[in-house]
Symmetry: C2
Subunit: 406 residues, 2 copies
């Protein structure tokens, strides 16, 4: 946790949030424009869902066409997913309208949408709001704050953080925001990660570093296992920090930036899990001593996703049998059950595959009570490691998702 | 649905249910003995969970040792899983005690346990109850009924059915019971399927036919994705129906029996999904036109497991975007989104990957209201087919699983 709450201005970045409206019956900002000065380059990691939304297709095409980026255009309230060819045209219309209004090339604009799936994007409302959003553009901290609220859907609070590092004697700043609360799962969560930095870096280097950071942060958070149609984590570098161009991801300068970005992404990802729909507990599932990092991820994920583990967490019930049952069904090749050890916070529950001889229900109960729980599973098989961030499953989750559209 | 409610006596089978007690603070039967006359042979399919319970290990070892089976010994209330070496010894003690009391070989006894994971099996209570269970042995329908109640955990009602077929002019009867309500998932559900028949059949043929029936029944039902440590589906053939021995699974006689067994297993599996913890709706997810049956199973399962689809079902909300989002994240190689069609009951929701042009929210709502929902997904890619049975996800599921041990 090395990043700090709130945003810092990034030279070359301006933000404008307005009410389009896209959200029905809500008096709030739901359209966000992020403008980047000429020379900015971008990187992005997008959902692996094959049923991905129109804006994801368009974003990918634009990124493939040029690394130069001038605008991110985001709306909350409508995902523009499951909308077929009409959805692609709707997305294209909003992008074309912005390109005309702002006098930039279409492929320098990246669209993002989040919200209800399957309903037509309200193109006219969005196009009508664009001039107001352009007029509102401003780089202040207040505008970052307002922007972080405009992209929320079922989030209970905005998620905005910043971090700094020093490269070649120059201070490099990163400000990032995220949105997401449910439909959260690796590859990717139903989330946006929107990060800007003044770092001077080539597009290829930026993409490589972003992919690395996403792997252990946004791709290691799960609320309900539902991979969204719309997820994206995007990073822009405005090239204004004043140091020499960084082009090699393996260079010390690049590593310095990567470290700051990783911390920022980890902290934003943690905020997503903490704000999981209906969540009352934040839970880290740590799998270590697995055959490989990949196995560790699979095992930790299986535990983190188990409805039975998650309901036990909600009830503060040390029903640890559910944890080992989830470990046992993880799709990894071979598990030496008799070498598995499990801790809940500092209390060892399982020793060599069975209940720890000194374990007492009272100690287990005490370990399950806090609002923050670490479940640590040591497989005794190798050095594979992964930490997955998640939350408990409560009646409130069911209520939120039953009532989402009404 | 060709099987009928309730049991029919099977010649050579007697049942004795008593209170051990294993269940804490409950005045109910929780120990069941099923006795089979000499000459009976058995078949079984067991959980794929690597953290499987002691009785599963013992059952497998005994089945590997001999196909002849004289007793099934079952308890509810304690899973004897996650109990390490002590759990194996506990299981062995109860089996040894029964072998001595009944004068049969140890490896002719198959143990089954279900209930809380990780707590020591109350061996003394069980051994103490065995003589009473032996005294109670009786083949009547009433005893089948009482037995079907003794194996329940969170089930809201017993699950007992029968079916008959005619082989070589002789009537062959199958009576089966199941238990299971949560921790239900393919390979296998947290369930027992316990089936007896008077069919005259070799053990190899019996095993082959059982495996086939389980594939599309018990292995196609899911409540919450949690594969249990204890699941087993077992079938005994008492060889008393009077026809000639069936030894070839491909013979018409074998197919006749297989068909009856399949119908019985399908109906029992459906009862499990209908009794899913907190369920208010029974849902069939049918995937057709997939590249393969295996892909169809993966896709149908992903939809059936999605918490977002399941909460929408609970709310009768035709939030069909969640269905296509789940299809899109199913781990199959390639999906032609533009060829996907989806129906909820008789209402076509999605046509060629987008909302059907004639679809109305009212029609979608009407389709989601009934307590029985078919979600049919046509992939337009081949002839692969699978039907998965599941239920909705309600606040009541969370309550049941939060309060399970208290």
């Amino acid at each position: 946790m090395k990043s700090s709450v709130g945003g810092l201005p990034i030279q070359g970045v301006r933000l404008g949030a307005v009410k389009a409206p896209v959200y029905r019956n809500k008096d709030r900002d739901d359209l966000l424009l992020m403008a980047f000065d000429e020379g900015s380059v971008g990187a992005a990691v997008t959902t692996t869902n094959q049923f991905c939304a129109a804006p994801v297709h368009v974003l990918r095409a634009h990124l493939a066409s040029t690394p130069h980026v001038r605008f991110w255009l985001l709306n909350a309230g409508n995902a523009n997913a499951g909308t077929g060819e009409a959805g692609m045209e709707a997305c294209d219309q909003t992008v074309a309208e912005l390109a005309t209004n702002a006098g930039v090339a279409k492929d320098s604009i990246w669209p993002f949408s989040t919200g209800v799936i399957g309903e037509p994007l309200p193109v006219e409302s969005i196009c009508h709001a664009l001039p107001r959003a352009i007029d509102a553009l401003n780089g202040s901290v207040d505008h970052w704050e307002r922007a972080s609220r405009a992209v929320m859907t079922t989030d209970t609070h905005p998620k905005l953080r910043h971090i700094q590092c020093v490269i070649q004697g120059k201070t490099v700043t990163l400000t990032g925001m995220a949105k997401g609360s449910g439909m959260i799962h690796p590859n990717m969560a139903t989330m946006f990660g929107l990060i800007a930095s003044d770092v001077v870096m080539s597009a290829g280097c930026l993409q490589s570093i972003l992919a690395g950071s996403v792997r252990h942060s946004f791709n290691c958070v799960t609320v309900d296992g539902d991979t969204s149609t719309n997820d994206a984590c995007a990073l822009v570098a405005t090239q204004t920090a004043g140091h020499r161009l960084i082009d090699d991801p393996k260079s010390p300068d690049a590593q310095q930036f990567a470290s700051a970005l990783s911390d920022l992404c980890d902290d934003l990802a943690e905020m997503l899990a903490r704000d999981g729909e209906g969540a009352t507990k934040f839970v880290r599932v740590i799998c270590e001593e697995a055959v490989s990092d990949s196995d560790a991820h699979t095992i930790a994920n299986t535990v983190a996703l188990s409805p039975l583990v998650k309901t036990a967490l909600a009830a503060s019930d040390p029903n640890w049998g559910r944890i080992v049952a989830a470990v046992g069904r993880a799709p990894v090749s071979e598990i030496a059950i008799e070498r598995v050890n499990v801790w809940i916070n500092d209390v060892q529950i399982v020793q060599n595959g069975g209940r720890h001889p000194q374990y007492t229900e009272e100690a287990g109960q005490a370990a399950m009570n806090p609002p923050e729980i670490d479940i640590r599973i040591a497989m005794g098989a190798g050095s594979g490691y992964c930490r997955v961030m998640t939350c408990d499953l409560t009646k409130e989750y069911v209520r939120i998702n039953a009532e989402y559209r009404t």
